[in-house]
């Protein structure tokens, strides 16, 4: 009974979404306020019904309703309850439901938090979000219904959740990632609405900025969680594989980062409007592409369509319609008028433009590396893969360039920066950074050109950010007062930039100074790894809820002292008969020690991988900084003050946009 209720709720949500996509938009185009007034209630309605459907599916998982095919395929009565709950998004159908749930959540958030926007604008934004919702709800209902029943032959038990997904990281990774992906739909909707009504101005940029920043913060966390999960669960210690699934999440992050910066320029200086709009479209398209690639099966084989072509074709159609329509709208409606605002070759505008060029270049590069093999295969022009070295070789210099540029850009001024002044300004921070980077090389024992430049870029970002904070906070009333005077959005930027530096340093050091050894070990054997000694003590067996495990016991010694004991496991999942490797990790801020057991080689001997990973935690720590920076920035006073002033403005005949201008 319940599952049908869920499906019914989805159908109702679809109907409301169709209305949301049409009615407010019509209202805004014909200027009828009554129609526009439907936007907010409809957005709430769509959310309520999708949430209801999601709740029903979650309920089906929690009570082991194996008459629902999706539950039977992705759960098992032996699963602990929290994995039953997260199994809701463990498969194709449920993760799409999560996707639309978040989409409707974002739509609702826009409806609630944008009361200050002109009603025409908000109607259009909500309508565009409604259109996206319609597309995905149709996709779910027509091709991927999570409520399909297995009647009358209800299986006695479920096929179990893929053991890879039975993990804490996978409980939170997809929701974070989807929050990011879907969040960019708001920036997209703002861009489309602005194209429709032709009001591509600073106010538009300011409205979409906080939404873009939040989405970006979530996506940063999502990408980092994916990398963290791959590191401890899947990767035998690797943290980024340039795998298409990973690249799919990195692509919108890269273009989203570019979008965030270009929006800043558009808001402050009113330039780069067309470029910003294009980036918003591209970023959302890349989010859709990511969903498509992961969900359609093209990654396993582009011919995997053959066994179930409707899903892939539908998603591809959805993707195609979105991209073509929005780019066509862009081509006809984007402003070609040229900006009066003037800036010179060394202004902050140009630094940010360069940042955009680099980020977009990185996006294109990753996109080419990801899609090229797929396209060739699709056209039956041969099968090839593009190895990690391709990405490392091309991405690293761009990342270093972004870092170096970032540090210099922080000191630049809007409109014009005096070249000589900037050069003198940069001299000391640069000298300090070179010294620090060299010190890092010495500390880790050995100069390597790539490592040096990576470390230099990271240190340079930190030094420049700190230097700038120091400059800005000097005040006649004392340093503390000066620090307090800075806005939250400035501190948000500082945090996020530090995050970039932390991640860069982590990536540089972990990949250049990590040690990895594959060994044949018997109980009693010892192995050296860096300054540490690892002793294989013995092996044992244990029984988990839905698996049996053989585990090894490893003592880790530093200078003769035992510093920790690790228990890496090999798990055999009973239902799916899969074998999984669970690494034993001694995590630390400065280094991780990582032990994983491979296959049994003889009665006594095992294949063992021992790794020493310096600063590997910094990779994800940096992402936490970035996300924190993003959240801090949107809590900035100026958004709230404007809200209040605009509420006042609403009671007076002043147009809201100009009121906003006067405050900021």
């Amino acid at each position: 009974m319940y599952p049908e209720l869920g499906q019914f709720a989805l159908i109702l949500a679809l109907l409301l979404a169709v209305l949301l996509a049409v009615v407010p938009l019509m209202g805004s185009l014909t200027g009828r306020d009554t129609l526009q007034a439907f936007a907010r209630p409809l957005a709430s309605g769509v959310f309520v019904f999708i949430a209801l459907a999601f709740g029903v599916l979650a309920h089906a998982f929690l009570v082991d309703d194996f008459s629902v095919a999706y539950v039977a395929n992705n759960s098992n009565s032996l699963l602990p309850w929290y994995f039953k709950a997260s199994a809701v998004w463990g498969g194709h159908e449920g993760s799409l439901l999560l996707w639309v749930l978040m989409l409707s959540g974002w739509t609702l958030a826009v409806a609630v938090f944008s009361r200050r926007l002109p009603s025409e604008m908000i109607s259009q934004v909500l309508s565009v979000l409604g259109m996206v919702t319609v597309g995905f709800l149709l996709f779910i209902l027509l091709t991927s219904n999570p409520f399909d029943r297995l009647l009358p032959n209800v299986p006695a038990d479920g096929a179990d959740l893929n053991p890879l997904l039975q993990d804490f990281g996978l409980i939170i990774h997809p929701p974070m990632l989807y929050m990011g992906y879907v969040g960019f739909s708001v920036a997209f909707a703002f861009a489309i609405a602005a194209l429709i009504n032709g009001r591509l101005d600073a106010a538009w940029a300011r409205w979409s900025r906080p939404w873009t920043t939040v989405a970006w913060a979530f996506l940063s966390l999502g990408v980092a969680l994916g990398s963290w999960w791959a590191y401890y669960e899947l990767g035998w210690g690797g943290w980024w594989f340039w795998d298409p699934v990973e690249n799919a999440s990195l692509l919108p992050w890269l273009s989203g980062t570019a979008l965030m910066h270009s929006l800043a320029v558009t808001e402050k200086r009113g330039v780069f409007k067309s470029w910003t709009v294009l980036l918003a479209i591209v970023t959302f398209s890349l989010s859709l592409l990511g969903t498509f690639m992961v969900r359609s099966g093209v990654l396993t084989s582009v011919h995997a369509f053959a066994s179930d072509p409707t899903r892939g074709a539908f998603l591809l159609g959805l993707l195609g319609i979105t991209i073509v329509c929005s780019l066509a709208l862009y081509a006809f409606r984007a402003p070609v008028v040229h900006v009066r605002a003037s800036y010179t070759g060394l202004s902050r505008e140009v630094f940010l433009l360069l940042n955009n060029v680099l980020l977009v270049a990185a996006t294109v590069l990753v996109l080419v590396g990801t899609l090229y093999p797929l396209v060739l295969d699709y056209l039956e022009m041969g099968r090839l893969s593009i190895g990690e070295p391709f990405f490392n070789l091309t991405f690293s210099p761009l990342a270093i360039a972004v870092g170096l540029l970032l540090g210099a850009g922080i000191f630049s001024r809007w409109k014009n920066t005096d070249g000589g002044w900037l050069g003198r300004k940069l001299l000391w921070p640069m000298a300090l950074s070179v010294v620090l980077a060299a010190a890092i090389m010495v500390a880790y024992g050995g100069f390597r050109p790539w490592a040096f430049f990576g470390a230099l870029a990271a240190v340079w970002v930190c030094v420049a950010t700190g230097w700038d904070l120091w400059d800005k906070s000097s005040s006649r009333k004392g340093r503390i007062h000066g620090l307090k005077r800075q806005s939250r959005s400035y501190y948000g930027m500082v945090l996020a930039h530090l995050g970039v530096a932390i991640t860069m340093l982590g990536a540089t050091v972990a990949s250049n100074y990590g040690i990895e050894r594959d060994l044949r070990m018997e109980p009693g054997d010892r192995a050296r790894i860096g300054e540490y000694q690892v002793e294989f003590v013995d092996v044992g067996q244990r029984q988990g809820a839905n698996f049996t495990a053989e585990f090894g016991r490893f003592d880790v010694y530093l200078d003769g002292e035992r510093v920790s004991t690790l228990f890496p496991e090999k798990r055999r999942y009973t239902v799916q008969r899969n074998v999984m490797t669970e690494a034993g990790i001694d995590a630390g801020l400065l280094r991780d020690l990582f032990v994983a057991i491979g296959e049994r080689l003889s009665d006594q001997a095992w294949a063992i991988r021992v790794q020493y990973k310096p600063l590997v935690r910094w990779l994800w720590l940096g992402a936490i900084f970035m996300a924190a920076g993003g959240f801090l920035a949107i809590s900035d006073r100026r958004y709230r003050i404007r809200e209040r002033s605009e509420q006042r403005a609403r009671t007076t005949p002043t147009p809201p946009a100009s009121a906003a201008e006067s405050v900021s």
């Binding site: 479209i281 011919h303 066994s307 179930d308 073509v324 862009y330 081509a331 070609v336």
Partner: protein, 178 residues
């Protein structure tokens, strides 16, 4: 003039789309068998479970059957196997197996482990019947009517959807014909 620049992204996407769309025509599963409407080619091959018994086209006489080409070396056959068992047991469809270029022991183990949906399995280690049928790979599934005439060919995995949309209508038609 400036406006034209704004069309560049659209053009890039459209061109990419056209190139990709052109590739769709090359669907490897759309293979027509030259045998449709003709009788199953002559063969004389042993049964998988019982090497002494020789099978010939008369196994198809009397009832509409599916002829399923499979092998233990073929992962997609594993994928469709449960659906075949479902067809045989729940839908009462008669399925004749063609164990194609396989090893007898492995094939027997496979059926032991996963269940045997086949009323009878033809053992074709040399692939001679497969060659005559024009089998491209495995899995492939043919609908053969009660007179031993090939009526339909499906390349790729059989699942519930394929059954419902492609195979069942054909099976129904020739079943009524009897």
């Amino acid at each position: 003039m400036k406006r034209l620049l704004l069309f560049i992204p659209l053009l890039v996407v459209v061109i990419l789309g056209v190139v990709l769309f052109a590739g769709i025509g090359k669907d490897p599963t759309a293979l027509e068998s030259a045998l449709i409407g003709k009788s199953v080619p002559e063969f004389s091959l042993p049964e998988l479970q019982n090497p002494d018994r020789t099978l010939d086209p008369s196994v198809f006489r009397g009832k509409v059957s599916l002829l399923n080409v499979w092998g233990t070396w073929c992962p997609s056959c594993r994928e469709e196997h449960d659906d075949l068992v479902w067809l045989a047991e729940d839908k009462g469809i008669r399925i004749v197996g063609l164990n194609y270029k396989d090893d007898r022991d492995l094939a027997l183990q496979w059926l032991e482990r996963l269940g045997d949906p086949y009323e009878v399995t033809i053992f074709d280690p040399e692939g001679s019947l497969g060659f005559d049928l024009g089998v491209y790979g495995a899995p492939e599934t043919y609908v053969i009517d009660g007179q031993g005439t090939v009526r339909y060919r499906h390349v790729g995995v059989v699942n519930e959807k394929v059954w419902r949309e492609h195979l069942e209508p054909v099976v129904q038609r020739y079943r009524e014909g009897n």
